[in-house]
Amino acid sequence: MESRNYQLNDAKMFADVTDGTAIVINSATGIYYGMNSFGTSIYENLQEGSSTADVLSAALQLPGVPENFETSFEAFIASLVEYEIMVPGEGTSSRPAVLDPAVAKEDDFIPLCTEYQDVQELLFADPIHEVDVDEGWKPE
């Protein structure tokens, strides 16, 4: 994975970290995103100037880190870029990343960013059930 610096796409995104959870709102669409604790920790390190290589290096030093961690790390960074939460920063810099092993372990070393998308997509996959008040529900 090529090392890069990223920063919040503050032209479009509003962000807040409270109680170890990052919440990001896309001001153009109203969609909001939430990160798990480990994802939030990685996001904060990137925001503070660590490169992806700095964060990956720190993560790989954590006790119990799984062999395939780099895959989930890359997927997390890709999701931040795909959601337009973070954009590549200008220039490159290096700053040792600080990661809490307990936070990483609690999230099984999997950083996540979840898009709180329209629940309707989920529901459209669910069939409409015929319900009769007298006869009861007849599953299709």
Partner: protein
């Protein structure tokens, strides 16, 4: 478990639900609530004693009966929550519980194709049903003892949120006080100091709107705030410090959430203001090490953080009726961003001297007026 119904079935189920409530609850008390001169809501309480809770919490918003209210809220006691589903909805219980979950949501597809949540049913824990269809809202509560009346009574804010979710209005989680027609909207999640600052400001002469929930109204280029509730919540420590000035406040109970004290402050009715102009956003932060409070103008990123707090802390409390990142979430967030984007934003670092904090707020508010 998620279940989807046809709208015609949802309509039939709603009528069955109303018959069921009336049949099983012989007496009803009727109240009318004025939501910021925008909507009038009828509350039908079939739950013995619940009307008195509504009267305490909303005493300054109660109004005379009208023939065509904008919405109706039904409240009744529902003790057999698991049986409620097959009994009223006509749904086979074994099928319904086949996935082992205790939290169920029922949706219907409207004529416009949108899916709308009509019921969320919790068959353990707090145990209750929240249900809405059209302009009618239903709350079935299992047990309403002293420890949870505040929580459940306060839960009506979910209905208020939906009723007020119109293009020019928003029901939001925030506090507002002001001076000489210049208000500041305080945004913070719990523990940020907004309740203490707003209540102390009121006691020291500020115009008061709310310490926790309020209605925002956009008119032309202006934004105004109106109250709904007539109670405040304070930590026991802050209550002790404000004790002498709060002589007209009536103790209502202890919040089950953070052990805060709840007071009816309707005796301070002369301090309440409706349609109060909002001129700035204020982001309070408690700094226990500071000796004096400090105000700084927020950067764009800090303003964004403030907007996230007010939008997300509101949305995250409306956990029923499709508010799980659905279209209404987006609409609410976009509307809120639009409402707040024209306001300057300030951060106030609060010190332990609560009177000093109010003086600092006074200086800021008067400077905004100039």
């Amino acid at each position: 478990m998620l279940i989807s119904l046809k709208e015609s079935v949802a309509n039939r189920v709603t009528e069955a639900l109303k018959k069921y409530i009336v049949k099983n609850n012989p007496s009803v008390e009727e109240l009318f609530v004025n939501l910021g001169d925008i909507k009038t809501v009828r509350v039908l309480s079939f739950y013995p004693g619940y009307a008195s809770i509504v009267k305490r919490e909303l005493s300054l918003s109660l109004t005379s009966p009208i023939s065509c209210p904008d919405a109706t809220i039904w409240i009744w006691r529902e003790t057999g929550m698991a049986d409620f589903i097959p009994r009223v909805l006509g749904i086979n219980r074994s099928e319904f519980e086949s996935d082992g979950t205790k939290w169920h949501e029922i949706y219907y597809r409207g004529s416009d194709g949108d899916m709308r949540c009509m019921a969320s049913i919790d068959t353990e824990g707090d145990c209750g049903v929240h249900y809405s269809f059209g302009n009618e809202y239903f709350y079935g509560l299992d047990g309403l003892g002293p420890s949870n009346w505040f929580k459940e009574g306060h839960a009506m804010f979910q209905s208020f949120f939906h009723i007020l979710n119109q293009p020019s209005y928003s029901f939001v989680h925030g506090a507002c006080v002001g001076l000489e027609g210049t208000g500041v909207l305080m945004c913070a999640r719990g523990g940020g100091g907004k309740s203490t600052l707003s209540v102390q400001a009121m006691l020291k002469g500020f115009d008061y709107v709310s310490d926790d929930y309020l209605i925002l109204r956009e008119e032309g280029d202006g934004l105004s705030a109106s109250p709904i509730y007539s109670f405040i919540t304070l930590s026991p420590e802050m209550y002790e410090r404000m004790y002498d000035d709060l002589d007209r406040a009536r103790f209502l109970g202890v919040s089950p959430w953070k052990g805060k004290y709840i007071f009816d402050i309707s005796a301070f009715a002369d301090r309440f203001n409706r349609n109060y102009p909002v001129k700035a956003l204020l982001f309070p932060e408690i700094n226990p090490d500071a000796t004096v409070p400090e105000v700084t103008k927020c950067s764009q990123a800090e303003k964004g953080k403030t907007v996230v707090q007010i939008a997300h802390s509101t949305v995250s409390q409306m956990g029923f009726n499709g508010f799980r990142g659905g279209q209404k979430d987006k609409d609410f967030i976009l509307k809120t961003i639009k409402m707040l984007s024209g306001l300057d934003c300030y951060k106030i670092s609060l010190c332990p001297d609560i009177l000093g904090n109010v003086d600092c707020l006074k200086a800021l508010t008067l400077s905004l007026k100039r």
